[in-house]
Symmetry: C2
Subunit: 320 residues, 2 copies
């Protein structure tokens, strides 16, 4: 038997078949996400691509028991409707029903993409073998998911969890959500890039300034992190502040939930050891309970959402 | 059948019998906590007082099925040992074993006092009928407990939850825990008193200054709150900042956990409507999910720890 995982992103839609018994991804393809088509046509294309891929790889569609779709947005507590997925232009889209119609006879489930990724890491990745875990994905924004006592936790009322909007600097910078000092504002790749751009003025001799040719447009989180690796003072100062902010955000969650382990994925994970090693030290320094917490890299990469959605669909259908 | 609840505090030890079927407190007494006696003698006195109380009220000790004790401190994940209860001078005290010896044949359990209070409010108080809730108790410090999906959540590794040590102002004031900007530092009665004392200098004509006779020793959270009620500008300014801080702390937890309801007890609850009404507005203003969250007063008062410990002991024994 197989599971079908779908990850609908603002740029691409990933589609993969996973062997149920082993959890191994056996077939993969993607198609561009075209907002202008509208959700019905988009779902049809997903179905067509999935059938095409199955045929290509010799997978009998009747052998697919569950279909799971991840979306970058919020889902209603009944897990039927995408309430809002800004990057997809999905608002109150009855995605579960739509996919159920297209994939007749399969049990379909839909899930937030960060929660799906958390579940994938928990079932098959960096968080495997633990029971209460925090997963964060840090790129342009900061998202994540929680597994509490072996179960994906979708919020007490079912609206999801928003680790990016815990408040860590209540007299600090304004967040896009309208609030002040949210983790997402202070510990995202966007924050690194923003600070790098101010360094063009405050540190005109820095590597950040040199390598970007003083062009704010060319200052990215990656450029800042590369400058850290080259020993640039301005970049190191920025990155240390980033580590302070992120460790405060994680310590908040750690002090509230006492998880066994924290995994971090997303674009920021490319920073590698210079991120994870000092971060673990700082989190433990700020933790209330002094028994060591592990902070580790996520391992499932870009497939996490797709695979997590498939595994969760199977779990919800009770067939895995 | 009856349950015995014990709340060991730094000043008094509360002892109460609860009728199992109804959850009603049917007998109550207390005795002074005398640190110098050491935990063994203290436990003996608790036993003696409980037996005396039972006899007085005609309760047959054989009819008591479970014994629950709450302590202001941390408990090991196996729920046998008080790791550290600073106010009691208890360090690595095998409290469960000690009480089990003294109350032969009863199922004994020990629990952190704030978690016990959370459980009492959840089972029989302000949080009854809900499934995922946050309970905070605010006085000298800020403690609390979480019920997630109908179960008291004791932290992923079993060390407990510390809502007082989520970080809300990571570039702010130092906390007694060694960290910076913890909720406990910024939203406790101690913070109100501290700010009230600075008002003696910054607002020498304030009601805070007048009513305390300019004596810092006489400035308490209560005095500040009373001055708010009298319309004192300095006090109102302080109290508004308190509401900002506390609503940020609660919004953090709300955005991470999406609970159905938040209850607040402890000394601060005496502030009444001027606390709860603006707080609920501010929390909802800062919440990521815009479906309204309720912020309500705790209702079990000072008995919450004792009753919660008893109810939890019964639940753990599977006999309630």
């Amino acid at each position: 038997m197989f599971l079908l995982g779908i990850d609908i992103g603002g740029t691409n839609i990933k589609i993969g078949f996973i062997e149920k018994e082993t959890g191994v991804l056996v077939a993969f393809d993607q198609l561009p996400f075209q907002k202008e088509l509208g959700y019905r046509k988009i779902c049809e294309r997903i179905r067509d691509k999935a059938f095409e891929l199955a045929q290509e790889k010799g997978i009998d569609i009747d052998e697919v028991s569950s279909v799971g779709a991840a979306v970058p947005g919020s889902i209603d507590p009944e897990e039927k409707t995408v309430l809002n997925a800004y990057n997809l232009d999905f608002k109150n889209v009855p995605l579960k029903e739509e996919l159920s119609t297209l994939f007749t006879g399969k049990s379909v489930s839909i899930v937030n993409d960060a929660s799906a990724a958390a579940f994938a890491e928990f079932k098959a990745g960096a968080l495997k073998g633990h029971s209460t875990v925090v997963f964060l994905t840090i790129g342009t924004g900061l998202g994540g998911g929680l597994v509490l006592g072996g179960k994906l936790f979708n919020g007490g009322r079912g609206y999801g969890v928003e680790p990016g909007h815990i408040i860590i600097d209540c007299y600090g910078e304004k967040c896009t959500c309208g609030n002040v000092g949210c983790a997402e504002t202070l510990c995202s790749a966007s924050w690194l890039a923003r600070q790098g751009r101010s360094a063009l003025i405050s540190y005109p001799d820095s590597l950040i300034a040199q390598r970007s040719g003083n062009d704010p447009e060319r200052v990215s989180a990656k450029l800042v992190i590369d400058a850290v690796r080259s020993g640039d003072t301005a970049a190191i100062r920025i990155f240390n502040e980033f580590l302070e902010n992120l460790s405060s955000a994680i310590a908040s969650m750690v002090n509230l939930l006492d998880p066994e382990i924290i995994a971090i994925g997303g674009g920021i994970s490319a920073a590698g050891d210079i991120l994870y090693i000092p971060l673990e030290l700082k989190v433990n320094d700020k933790a209330f309970f002094k028994d060591e917490y592990k902070v580790v890299p996520a391992v499932m990469g870009n497939d996490a959402g797709m695979i997590g959605a498939a595994l969760l669909a199977a779990e919800k259908a009770g067939d895995r």
